[in-house]
Symmetry: C2
Subunit: 431 residues, 2 copies
């Protein structure tokens, strides 16, 4: 774990190095992925079955119809789900839905003084594909975070794909899909699932956009099919930045740092504080709490390789550092939390006060937990309703409005060497 | 030019072929671009100067400071601009600004029944780079369409780059930059300009996002630096779809088809109509008007290779075809224009009525002319204020709110195998 002090003369350099750390090694799977996509686009279900047999142990006699998870299987998964997390998912769904409903954008239409009617209209995407990873990264909470905003947007068809190694799907993932209103579920994964969603097969109809996290193959496949369909951001390893003053509880801060670190050895947890005492106490508490975690090995590696504690003279000095780090998650546990938050430009999500651990936001707070990583909060937002809608602009001129605006359009068309543009206006005005 | 009839038994196949037509050959410039980006990232201004000397004829003695277009040069360009298009640009700027002001999104904050305060906040990007092509595709109107929404969003710094072959920049482009409030202008272009904006040099500070059109090198460079910075969409050749009934004026329809076709040999102009008479009259009018256009060779090639006239039984039958084509521009010149428009899901922009040629929208209507091409209106929107802002979610729990929500978060953390998440909540509740 790195310790920095902004009062040190070399701080600028050290901080720049922290900013520049690459936490992800890009696996070069692009050629493999290109072949899989081409194959699925050409051979459809037959290719999808081949890859699913090879990678997920699907039986040799299974037909394409078997790739669809039936409503009865989902009923059974719901029945088999432990009641406590099932109830928690229902609470989470209700809160996520309420939060995202407020994001539904308004249409706009007005007629100006010249008689030009103009505005825009939002429409939902006609269909969305949701990728859900298999194995330990198969999170029911992520199903809700991706599917609920799409349904709030009004997307009529959500097709979910999730690999089922040896036929097994996490029942809570299926229960979350049911809760969120997912319309179709397929037990396929990897680049082949992305290709099927993008190009369609006899069993899986194509979608307009693909969202959801995945491994290097899935990420490479999403990049490749972009254009054919829309995609969401490509998420990197998760990260938290905690801004805390001397009043913060070091055990709580340490628990929050470790909650981030346990995600992935490439996750990053950083504390910035104006208190030496807190810095020391948190460092000690992290070591103490590590032993209690089932995922201690992962969390320890993340903390060792990418963790940092930065001492600043005053917390206000931290604001420019926060903006440069542009963290996915920013917790502020300090007396002046609101005032500090107001001055931050770049953060995916802000958690205010000592009683708002980031894990609340991961599950049941209401805001989306799909957030920009790797400093991309400088230019992008977390997932929301707008990601499942698009805006169409509207323009309508009366003959009088065209007469008023036309000459300027003709002048610009001619100035740009686009005489056909100018003509299309002039011909209506007998210019 | 293709003529199709929806009443023909093979129409489905023919239309599918029209949908699948590739109008762009992807030039393989990726390796060259990769080298240029690496070089600029490593050597900064020195590399930028080298490439600008080689590609744009910059003098051997020019220093990096000479890459900046001075305010005095912009003054001179404004003074040298012809008055009529200059006045038209001022009108366009005012209308674009008014339209986009209505897009500024609202922040949201509420406290729910449990005492959870939640919402979001929009902030402007800290800086934006605007690429403007050189040569004939150097359009002052595009400078306005990209820069005005950024300024409306509140972006404090817009850095524009435009190649100046042999030192020459279109004076109207500089005048548009001045009008739009662009903060810095540099006479650099190509992949080297994109690299400079993404990584920064001593002369050009890095930006958070790069927007604007460009050639294959610029497009490849934008794809490569994505992640380091944000980028806008990669625009393809432009396209128009006109929906018209027998009441439409064939000369006007033909002029609008040609206004699109003159952009590029890869542009696409399509007419869908329920009138054989209009179809024939438009086909004849296109041939007649072609001779009048300075860019006749380009427009003729586009119309020959990608133009189409589709006859449908009733215009209402066209709506599903429109949604599959998802055109960048949709003109509706028909009695029932509003009703048809209301049923369309996928279009970048809709122009209603006979007196709204698309060229009005290109210049002075108010809506943005940067719109999704190549069927991407299925999943994306035209450029707008939201492209220059990002949303930060906010969450704050009181101790009581955490007590109410905490157990559900703990249950989900444990169910997902993320005990550190569960612990970060439980430790605050003595669970």
């Amino acid at each position: 774990m790195l310790r920095l002090d902004s009062r040190h003369p070399d701080f600028g350099q050290h901080f720049a190095r922290l900013l520049a750390v690459k936490r992800e090694v890009a696996e070069d799977v692009d050629e493999t992925v290109r072949g899989i996509i081409r194959d699925v686009a050409a051979r459809g279900d037959a290719a999808l079955l081949d890859y699913t047999r090879r990678f997920d142990g699907l039986g040799p006699d299974a037909s394409a119809a078997a790739l669809r998870v039936s409503p009865e299987e989902i009923d059974a998964a719901v029945a088999a789900s432990p009641p406590e997390p099932l109830a928690a998912l229902a609470l989470a769904k209700a809160r996520i839905e309420a939060y995202h409903r407020a994001q539904v954008p308004a249409d706009h239409r007005e007629t100006d003084a010249l008689g030009v009617t103009l505005g825009w209209r939002w429409t939902a995407l006609e269909s969305v594909g949701l990728y859900v990873p298999g194995g330990t990264a198969s999170y029911p909470s992520s199903v809700l975070m991706n599917a609920v905003p799409a349904k709030v947007a009004g997307v009529p068809r959500i097709a979910m794909v999730a690999p089922a190694p040896n036929g097994v799907t996490n029942p809570l993932v299926l229960a979350a899909a049911r809760l969120a209103g997912v319309d179709e579920v397929f037990r396929v994964g990897g680049a082949q699932a992305v290709a099927a969603l993008a190009y369609g097969t006899a069993t899986i109809a194509p979608v307009a956009k693909i969202v959801g996290p995945g491994n290097a193959y899935v990420a490479a496949a999403k990049r490749r099919v972009f254009g054919q369909v829309g995609i969401d951001m490509i998420a990197g390893p998760s990260e938290v930045l905690i801004l805390a003053d001397g009043s913060a509880n070091p055990d709580w801060v340490a628990a929050d740092l470790l909650a981030q670190a346990e995600h992935d050895t490439a996750a990053q947890a950083i504390l910035i504080t104006d208190s030496d005492a807190l810095a020391d106490a948190v460092a000690a508490a992290v070591e103490g709490q590590l032993a209690l975690l089932p995922r201690a090995a992962i969390a320890a590696a993340s903390w060792r390789d990418y963790g940092a504690i930065v001492r600043v003279e005053r917390l206000a000095d931290a604001v420019p550092l926060v903006d440069r780090l542009a963290p996915e998650h920013l917790e502020i546990e300090a007396a002046e939390a609101e005032a500090l938050a107001a001055r931050v430009r770049n953060a995916g999500a802000i958690f205010l006060g000592a009683h708002t651990p980031e894990a609340i936001g991961d599950y049941v707070g209401g805001p989306n937990h799909v957030l920009p990583t790797a400093r991309s909060a400088r230019f992008s937002s977390g997932l929301g309703v707008l990601d499942f809608m698009k805006r169409t602009s509207l323009l309508s001129c009366t003959p009088e409005a065209l007469r008023a605006l036309g000459p300027a359009a003709v002048a610009l068309g001619r100035a740009e060497g686009l005489d056909g543009h100018a003509r299309s206006v002039a011909i209506r005005l007998n210019l």
